[in-house]
Amino acid sequence: MPREMFERELQRLQDELIALGSMVENAIIESVEILRRRDMEGARQLIAQDREINKRRFAIEEDALVLIATQQPMASDLRVIAAVLEISTELERMGDYAKGIATINLMIGEEPLIKPLIDVPRMARKARDMLHQALEAFTRGDIELARSIPPLDREVDALYDQVYRELLTYIIADPKKIEQANQLLWVAHNLERTADRVINICERVVFTVTGELAEMSDGEPGISGTN
């Protein structure tokens, strides 16, 4: 193998990305669990943990740039590194969404939730599962798997619409609940955006394998907009 050291470094870069992905997967689930438990200490910890996510993303970016500068990668090697850069940015933003949910928990404070959280944790689980599969597809270079993920976004969008309609009924019934309903809507919105960003990762998987840059979508227009 003529480029053993480069291969090792390239693999390490991808391992770092997957490790970052795992942190973000946990953050997505934890953010909603913390909200459900009304766990203020957990929210503060999650916000602190986001700093670690940001730090790791910068470290990945730096490593990727060093590899480009020192190894002159070409073709599929270059595409892998370009994809790692792009995906690490997506993961960092997903981490921000989770942090946003933790912040909302602190903003709601001691006030009880206006409704039990049922669809919101579902959204979180689906978004997490989509992310997990997208990272799996990246690791394996599996474009079939990558292409099977965007349609799952419809389920997240449908849950978002459902949460939206349900919160509207709470607002109509009791205008005093507007503020918290609005905050919970932001929680759902953050999860919906998280799933949208997973589609961007799927696009990068296809790019890495085929060299084609093409937009993917869940195939349906919705109030949740585009990805």
């Binding site: 193998m1 003529p2 480029r3 480069f6 002159q72 990668p73 070409m74 073709a75 599929s76 090697d77 270059l78 595409r79 085929t210 060299g211």
Partner: protein, 249 residues
């Protein structure tokens, strides 16, 4: 299109060094030929101005059309061909003469210019090779007193002094340091406004940097030929991918 190569085979004795090569080389573009040592890329380059004729027991089959005219016929005037298709070699090879005489050599031999006209051609050629400002006050100095990078640009000036149409470059930077290499690369970008350039290089980053088109040779075959940006980002053949990513060759 400047040069069309169709089904070219080339033999050193019984050894088939190039097999069924077809390629279209465009005017005012830079075409880079890459591949491991012994893959046939330099042999191919030398076919384009019949430099291989000087090697005994060689034989070319197929067609090489320069502006639509086959150069491999007995009627071809090889001296005129090499005036139209000039060449720059791996190591700078100035003649042990003055800078002026090096550049004036071709026009003098061809008898195209003399006197003030000759001085004009020398100046224009040195300007064309981005060397004029560095040597204009020392045209009578020995060419061998120049740095290697300057010597190579002098050789380029000597090549363009006979007003060729195609310039072949056989690893023109392999003896040069990085700065002199970049100067030659910059010069190539200027030269391509007026000439068709074909360059053989071992340096893949150089091919990626300077060329518009890239051909990848392997064991005497042209495995892939296409736009440089495609060959280096999305090669169509696994062998090309393995070579440019450093996993083969």
């Amino acid at each position: 299109m400047k040069v069309r190569v169709a089904h070219l085979n080339f033999y050193y004795g019984d050894f088939l060094a190039l097999s069924d090569i077809s390629m279209e080389i465009l005017d005012r573009q830079i075409t880079a030929l890459i591949g491991p040592s012994g893959c046939g890329k330099s042999t191919f380059l030398r076919c384009l101005n019949r430099m291989n004729d000087t090697i005994p027991c060689t034989c070319a089959e197929g067609q090489i059309l320069l502006d639509g005219v086959d150069i491999n016929t007995p009627e071809t005037d090889v001296v005129a061909l090499r005036q139209r298709v000039g060449m720059v070699f791996q190591r700078p090879n100035p003649f042990p003469q003055s800078i002026f005489d090096n550049v004036a050599f071709g026009p003098r031999v061809l008898g195209t210019h003399r006197g003030a006209g000759l001085a004009d051609v020398v100046e224009q050629s040195l300007r064309g090779a981005a060397l004029w400002t560095e040597v204009k006050d020392e045209l009578d100095h020995d060419a061998l007193s120049l740095s290697l990078g300057q010597q190579q640009r002098l050789c380029i000036a000597r090549a363009i002094a006979v007003q060729p149409e195609v310039i072949l470059m056989d690893e023109p930077c392999s003896a040069l340091d990085p700065i002199a290499t970049l100067e030659i690369e910059e010069l190539m970008q200027r030269l391509k406004e007026n000439y068709c350039i074909v360059i053989v290089t071992h340096n893949m980053q150089q091919a990626a940097r300077v060329s518009d088109w890239t051909g990848f040779f392997w064991l005497g075959e042209l495995v892939e030929f296409g736009a440089t940006e495609t060959v280096f980002t999305r090669p169509q053949h696994q062998l090309t991918e393995d070579y440019i990513t450093g996993r083969a060759g």
